[in-house]
Amino acid sequence: MMEKGLVELHEALKKGTVTSKELVEESLKRSKEVQEKYNAFVTILEDAKEGSVTDDLLSGIPYGIKDNYSTKGILSTGSSNTLKDYVPFFTATAIENLSRHGAIPVNKTVLDEFGMGGTGTTGHTGIVKNPWDPTRMCAGSSAGSACAVAAGVYPYATGSDTGDSIRKPAAYCGIVGYKPTYGMISRYGLFPFASSLDHCGVLTRSVEDAAIVVDAMKGIDENDMTSWDSSDLHLYDSLGKDVKGMKVCTIKEICDSSMYPHASKELKAHLENFQKTLEHFKELGVEVEEVSVDSTLLNAEPSVYVVISCAEATSNMSNLTGIVFGPRASADNYIDMMKKYRTEGFSPLIKRRFIIGSYVLQAQNKNRYFYNAQRVRRLLVDRWKEIFKEYDAVVLPVGSGPAKKFNGDKDMIDKNTAVLEEHLQIGNFGGFPSITIPDGFINDLPVGINITGNCYEDSKVLNLAYALESTMPYKNQVAKEVK
């Protein structure tokens, strides 16, 4: 049953052809299998209980929680050794909201340590393997969530997205990844990485499910000043609107094959597949045009992300000292205690980012790096907003192809495809609603397409995705290992 969508599951529960207990048991069983094969979980909630079935589409149905969401009484590690024993005493608002809708959490999923990575390989419990091909990565940081949803453990799992942490793993795992407009879902209880870029969101196997889940997660929260009132917005109810006459654009400098004269076969196939997907849009009556964005501006994008995200991260994670919470280190004095805890607890990747973050904020560097990064961020966002005046959405391929093999580090950016790999971060710069859906296969491995719209236009973005999804056979697809 767990490979089915929420509406179908809900109907089955209502009819009584399956019970919530059976779903929870199946989900726990699948969790153990997936853990065995792909290592997607930090914690499996063995004692998860069935829930009552109401008219709520989420009631009684299992789901997964990324392990950077604070869950009361349940280990919440952020996939970091620094919090390997941390059991919070409060629950993130988004999770509280899901509980109110009767959703049943069955596990906590692995991420790149504190969300700071794009490979799913840096969590303290080990690497997460791709359920389509275990020699490949799921991408990150919501690796465990993407893996589990793709592998049919449950219909959805929560994710968080600071650069592309929902939308990239969704593409690599052949599923849907959606982060709504910044502030639609409260961040209270989400372990912060870079607060101005962090978004909560969800990984599902259909656009419909993404809308249903975010409808439940969202809402203004007195504990998060950046949250806003979206009570007038009903994402699921607004699905299915005719998209005929809507206008979308691609960006030449990012997705035109002429930009990549030395493209690999894989990249070529990916870009061709993308163009093919655009044809589906045209068949739906959506106008597709190509716009051009100054490549100097675009090429600055990956650095802007590094500077801003590292700067905020180094400050956000200063609270991790092992003194108030976390496994306290023993040393002669508190300074050495903190140093030891942080030196031993954080992975080298994170420490590198902390050093970058501190460096760019230092008085003598701040103008050159941090303030300039903020200026370029604004320029990029302004450019995108200008595009949104004319177009309903920007449509782009996700990454430079399907999931990558483990022997290669995503953090080592290939200059030629850097912007292609990183452009989803612009969605975080602007807080734009952004969704990735699967749009085909390359060498039997899934690839994705991304649709990003202007702030507060989530319904528009979801409708475009919903319409496009209907033209392709990937809705509710579950991963099949390809050998």
Binding site: Y69, S70, S76, G78, L83, Y86, P88, F89, F90, A92, R187, Y188, G189, L190, F191, P192, A194, S195, S196, E222, N223, D224, M225, T226, A311, E312, T314, S315, S318, N319, L320, T321, I323, V324, F325, Y334, I335, M338, S358, L361, Q362, A363, K366, F370
Partner: protein
């Protein structure tokens, strides 16, 4: 000393005590003997907690900014000051520096100093969160997070003060402003006021308004009482002069020192070159928000009459002496009590006498605060009215007041209970007077010869009436009866 002039600048930190909750968390803003009883997850830096700005704290900060004639920003921002210290569990403090603009910049405060007006320029005033309090013991330290996140106002002056006494007078004025504007109790015994003091000296004959002539700035951190401020400044002035005299002043680097109360001296902490880089950036969890003109206007309207203004009124309108006016404005609750009696119709001079001579003395003796008194302005006015109407004598009124305070009963009840009513009936008094005069014809003779026996007659009448005879009426009747004989 006579060869030098001194430049003093202050950074005054004052907790805002008049909010219910902390500046970014919903924990109670209060003072508790029980450690770690006023805390929420944010105050201890638990992962995933977010700051939520307390509007009342911003309102009170803007009020202070307005009182000091500062310019208020159009938009409110906060920023992070990053440093590691056990009193700051997030290891950054949410604060405001000059960029973006804090709650106030470029104001000034004019205050009384030994009979002359002094003006100190305010560089800025900003709102931030207080840190936890640490207590150090041999071998270990304890952290109390009750104070972590309490709203704190930091006021930064230009170096416009020239002696320790001037600096203390400035601080006292500021304390009074915080109290009168109902921003803070500003109680240094509760650690609500803490200061950093900047001291430098320069040659007497040079122009102090030109920064080029200024000496090397020494900052003294964490001085926690006004007495400490005075002592630290005086110590530092002497230390710097001694360096000048020894020709070592030019070697002295700009530096930070701390005031050590045990050794009564300032102790070197670090030089400017070792200054901490706080890596400020705008707090991303607090969206910038516009401060509307309407809000500012309503805050401006809420500013009450401050001490200096009240003192002026007490002297010019109520005709009080400068001394009495000063005594009455020293504590806002006393001044409020006083003004309430006037609103209730009391004669300002009489009410002032009651407060300065009787009530404040009582408070002093009992170590009480006026708000804890059973006596209300209404009761005081009742007593004053009874005297005015001749119902009780002024001597009796003091007794009534004391009984009101002791027995916690309404003045009218006390009067009734003591059987105190003044006899103002002409015939009753006249009968007694006649009797007294009849018994002492010799003393009437003495009186006529110029000896003072008049008071004796009054005394006898009082004795006969157990003090209840109206004194002025009694005197009048005695005179009349003597004249008749």
């Amino acid at each position: 000393m006579e060869n030098y002039q001194v430049l003093i600048g202050l950074e005054m930190h004052c907790e805002i005590s008049k909010t219910n909750s902390k500046v970014f968390s919903s924990a109670k803003n209060g003072y508790s003997e029980e450690a770690n009883s006023f805390i929420r997850p944010l105050d201890m830096g638990f992962p995933g907690t977010l700051p939520v700005v307390n509007k009342k704290a911003v309102e009170l900060a803007l009020k202070a900014s307005m009182i000091l004639g500062c310019k208020q920003p159009e938009y409110m921002y906060f920023e992070r000051k990053n440093y590691y210290y056990p009193d700051m569990p997030k290891n950054y403090q949410i604060t405001q520096e000059t960029k973006p603009i804090p709650v106030g910049i470029y104001g000034s405060l004019t205050y009384d100093f030994q009979g002359t007006k002094k003006t100190v320029r305010i560089n800025n005033i900003h709102l931030e969160e207080d840190a936890a309090s640490l207590d150090h013991y041999p071998g270990f330290s304890t952290v109390d997070y009750n104070r972590a996140g309490v709203p704190l106002l930091e006021l930064v002056t230009e170096p416009d003060m020239h002696s320790a006494e001037e600096a203390v007078a400035f601080l006292e004025t500021m304390r009074s402003i915080y109290q009168y504007a109902e921003i803070s109790d500003a109680d240094s015994r509760k650690g609500q006021i803490r200061c950093d003091v900047n001291v430098s000296i320069m040659d007497k004959d040079k122009d102090p308004t030109d920064p080029k002539n200024w000496g090397t700035k020494v900052e003294i951190k964490n001085v926690n009482s006004f007495g400490g401020v005075r002592d630290a400044i005086n110590y530092e002035i002497e230390r710097q002069i001694a360096l000048k005299e020894d020709g070592k002043y030019d070697e002295m680097q700009q530096q930070t020192r701390r005031w050590d109360e045990d050794t009564f001296s300032t102790i070197y902490m670090r030089s400017k070159v070792d200054a901490i880089d706080y890596r400020y950036f705008v707090e991303p969890n607090i969206p910038k928000y516009r401060i509307s003109e309407e809000w500012k206007e309503s805050i401006r309207k809420s500013i009450p009459k401050l001490a200096s203004e009240r003192k002026e009124i007490y002297q010019s309108e109520y005709g009080l002496s400068e001394y009495d006016a000063k005594v009455l404005i020293k504590e806002k609750p006393v001044s409020d009590f006083y003004e309430e009696t006037i609103t209730l119709g009391a004669n300002p001079k009489n009410a002032a006498n009651w407060l300065t001579s009787v009530i404040l003395g009582y408070l002093n003796k009992e170590e009480m605060e006026i708000k804890d008194l059973y006596l209300t302005p209404r009761m005081l006015v009742d007593i004053m009215d009874m005297v005015r109407d001749g119902k009780i004598s002024s001597k009796q009124s003091k007794e009534v007041l004391n009984k009101v305070l002791e027995e916690k009963k309404e003045p009218k009840e006390i009067v009734k209970k003591l059987g105190l009513t003044q006899i103002s009936d002409d015939k009753t008094i006249r009968d007694i007077v006649v009797k007294v005069l009849d018994e002492h014809p010799d003393l009437i003779e003495d009186h006529r010869k110029g000896k003072n026996t008049f008071d004796f007659f009054v005394g006898q009448v009082m004795k006969a009436t157990r003090g209840q005879a109206n004194p002025s009426l009694t005197a009048k009747i005695i005179q009349e009866e003597i004249d008749k004989r």
